[in-house]
């Protein structure tokens, strides 16, 4: 046995530290999975699901149409019709699975990428495009579909969801609330505070974190040293990691968490382990920070393909179904395209509208000045 010199040991220690920092999640926790990437149905001891072929086809249809809508929006941004787009490509299972777990009387607090959840809530997809086209900051009434407006400041909405859930509990209602956020938002103080408040008040809220591996250019390793779902333990409520590309598992796990909330047992953190296949937004260039091989590896886990494989192998869908869905997708794309191009710019006076509910003297004064200023051009023209 040779005695190692101090000099020889040092770099080994430092290497160990570096590798620990790079790979905090070296022992990958078990994902809840009900449908393998190869499209095989598997069982999980805690999460069972029993869906009819019709329901399975419904989930597939939701994912396909959401992806088609997303692709159309991306194209519209490239054509200059939208100022920006945040694509959900790759996250369809996480969103449709969780979204279809919701009841009508549940309330959703999304971030700005939950186009699939909005779809499940019945929000017309064209409504989602107004803010990206720059004609409004959110073009739907949140109370129509119990789907709050998109929130751009990362993590803010988790507190709104918690407060809303506290109100649900006060009202004695048995509905639940779900807050969507990402792995990057998990670093925000507001998310930590929402965990604290929801635990302390036993609020009926489900925190649905779509860990899509990247917060713009920063990997999850820059956000956390422990798997995200384990954060919940420190706050005193359960956390679970689900295969975010498995729509069945996402549905089962979210359904279970919502039921737990409804039973008055408090919050749950669901970490949907998934992947953002596209850019963060259309302003982003992922080729600068991540390797092609990584994306390719995740493409093999595509949420839509795996369900299609299962539907075909189980004989739950025939060629006519897929053909008909292709046609429906094209119709949706066309409708979205036309709706965006037809979207009028807002009236100039919209600047001054809805700043306050009860009015404000300064807003009134500035509106009057604006009107007079605009009118002065009309006079010049005459």
């Amino acid at each position: 046995m040779t005695v190692e010199s101090t000099a020889a040991r040092k770099p080994r220690r430092s290497t160990k530290r570096v590798s620990a920092a790079k790979k905090p999640q070296s022992s990958e926790p078990q994902l809840v999975q009900l449908l393998t990437p190869e499209g095989e149905r598997v069982e999980h001891p805690e999460y069972e699901i029993d869906l009819t072929p019709d329901e399975l086809r419904g989930l597939y249809r939701d994912m396909v149409l959401t992806r088609r809508f997303d692709a159309e929006a991306t194209a519209l941004q490239r054509q200059g019709e939208l100022g920006l787009w945040a694509s959900l490509l790759g996250q369809e299972a996480a969103q449709i699975g969780s979204g279809r777990a919701l009841r009508d009387d549940d309330y959703v607090f999304p971030t700005y990428r939950e186009h699939g959840v909005a779809w499940c809530r019945g929000v017309d997809p064209t409504n989602l495009l107004g803010m990206f086209r720059g004609v409004n900051h959110g073009g739907w009434d949140p109370n129509t579909n119990n789907f709050h407006l998109y929130t751009i400041v990362i993590g803010s909405q988790t507190l709104h969801a918690t407060g809303y859930a506290m109100g649900v509990a006060k009202d004695g209602a048995d509905s639940a609330v779900i807050a969507y956020f990402g792995d990057g938002a998990s670093s925000q103080g507001d998310v930590a505070e929402s965990f604290t408040f929801s635990a302390v008040y036993n609020a009926p809220v489900v925190f649905f974190c779509q860990n899509n591996q990247w917060a713009i250019s920063e990997p999850t390793e820059k956000q956390t040293r422990v798997p995200l779902y384990q954060r919940a333990q420190g706050y005193g409520f359960p956390g679970v990691r689900v295969d975010g590309n498995d729509v069945l598992a996402c549905l089962a796990v979210t359904r279970s968490a919502l039921e737990r909330a409804r039973r008055g047992e408090g919050p749950t953190l669901v970490e949907a382990f998934t992947y953002r296949m596209g850019a963060h937004t259309t302003s982003d260039d992922p080729t600068k920070y991540r390797a092609d091989e990584e994306r390719q590896a995740w493409e093999a886990k595509d949420p839509i393909l795996r369900l299609r494989t299962y539907l075909e192998n189980a004989g739950h869908a025939d060629e006519a179904f897929f053909t008909s869905l292709d046609e429906e997708s094209e119709t949706l794309g066309k409708r979205v395209r036309e709706a965006v191009r037809a979207m009028p710019d807002p009236d100039h006076l919209a600047i001054f509208e809805n700043v306050y509910a009860d009015g404000h003297a300064l807003v009134d004064e500035e509106r009057a000045q604006f009107i007079a200023y605009q009118a002065s051009f009309a006079e010049e023209g005459n």
């Binding site: 409004n136 900051h137 959110g138 073009g139 009434d141 949140p142 109370n143 709050h148 407006l149 929130t151 400041v153 803010s156 988790t158 507190l159 709104h160 969801a161 918690t162 407060g163 809303y164 859930a165 506290m166 109100g167 649900v168 006060k170 009202d171 103080g189 507001d190 505070e193 929402s194 604290t196 408040f197 302390v200 509208e353 809805n354 700043v355 306050y356 509910a357 009860d358 404000h360 003297a361 300064l362 807003v363």
Partner: protein, 326 residues
């Protein structure tokens, strides 16, 4: 019986009690607001009488307090939030500015957020750092928020209830060094408009405009100046957003001179806004430039120096003399 003599803090307490009695959707939230009754006892006895479900002790997390209050308001409640001290509001500043202030506009008017944020503010009580600041301009600058401050018990009682009834978010600044000043409150009165300034004392030589803790100083300055034969008009602005410029204009058109007094630093403060607007409105009536008296562009100093920092009688009178010298 309808008129009671109450310290300002007690008037606030009575106001909150009335609001809780009147509307079951009103909630009180904050750190230590329950059993303790708040560090200034403004919520004293309310949890005992209305329960933990209405008067809610919160975790020590200001962003969480305001953020969950927004969620409760979205569910139909009317939360009245207490921030323990002025300097502690900043962890909640993001929620207030990016969410509370803008959600009504963002939703094209579909969402109303009737949230009141009570903030004890200002100096003069010998406190430690972060317990004596006057950040009102930071909130008045943000469209979507209304910012008000009572200077006496009657306004404390009525303005707080009006704020709670408002469908807009209101930042309610309480002049903490006036908490123990007594004043008459007529609980049967019909209150005037929330955002209208009030002429506290009429005069003809110069207008003093103040709000919150500095109104009392200006009233005292006017009394002292009267002994020297100077006639000062004193305005209590009461609201910093919106500001009742019409009342200020009317006064300045009469006196020709204006001195704005506040505790907050003068630089970028509400006095700057008032000076600019009144200069536009009253340029040909002004006999002197609008002068401002307030704090320095420095962190609020340790308590042993606050007497030098805070505008007192002498600094107000010095500004009066400078204005009259033009």
């Amino acid at each position: 019986m309808a008129v009671q003599k109450l310290p300002l803090a007690k008037a606030l307490n009575e106001s909150l009690r009335k609001a809780l009695e009147t509307d079951p959707k009103v909630l009180i939230m904050g750190e230590d607001v329950g059993k303790l009754g708040g560090v200034f006892r403004v919520t004293d006895g309310l949890q005992k009488d209305f329960g933990e479900d209405r008067v809610i002790d919160t975790p020590l997390a200001e962003s969480g307090i305001v953020g969950t209050a927004i969620g409760l308001a979205l569910r139909g409640y009317r939360p009245v939030v207490e921030i323990q001290f002025d300097g502690f509001v900043f962890p909640a500043y993001d929620q207030i500015v990016t969410q509370l202030a803008k959600m009504h506009a963002r939703s094209l008017g579909k969402i109303k957020l009737p949230v009141v944020i009570r903030i004890p503010y200002g100096g003069g009580i010998g406190a430690v750092e972060h317990h004596s600041e006057s950040p009102e301009a930071l909130f008045a600058h943000v469209a979507g928020l209304k910012v008000i401050s009572p200077s006496n018990s009657s306004d404390a009682y009525w303005m707080l209830q009006q704020a709670i009834q408002s469908d807009d978010p209101v930042i309610f600044f309480e002049p903490k060094r006036r908490y123990w000043d007594k004043g008459e409150v007529d609980v049967d009165a019909i209150p005037g408009p929330l955002h209208k300034a009030r002429v506290i004392r009429t005069g003809s030589d110069i207008t003093l405009a103040a709000y919150g803790p500095m109104v009392k100083v200006c009233v005292e300055a006017a009394a002292a100046a009267a002994e020297e034969g100077k006639s000062l008009e004193v305005l209590d602005l009461r609201s910093m957003s919106p500001i009742d410029f019409d009342t200020v204009q009317t006064s300045v058109e009469k006196t020709g001179r204006l001195v704005v007094v506040h505790e907050a630093p003068v630089f970028y403060g509400s006095g700057a806004e008032i000076a600019a607007r009144i200069t536009e409105r009253c340029f040909y009536h002004l006999e002197a430039p609008v002068l401002r008296v307030g704090g320095y562009h420095a962190p609020y100093p340790p308590a042993r120096l606050e007497e030098e920092y805070l505008p007192g009688l002498d600094r107000v009178l010095d500004a009066v003399d400078r204005s009259l010298a033009y």
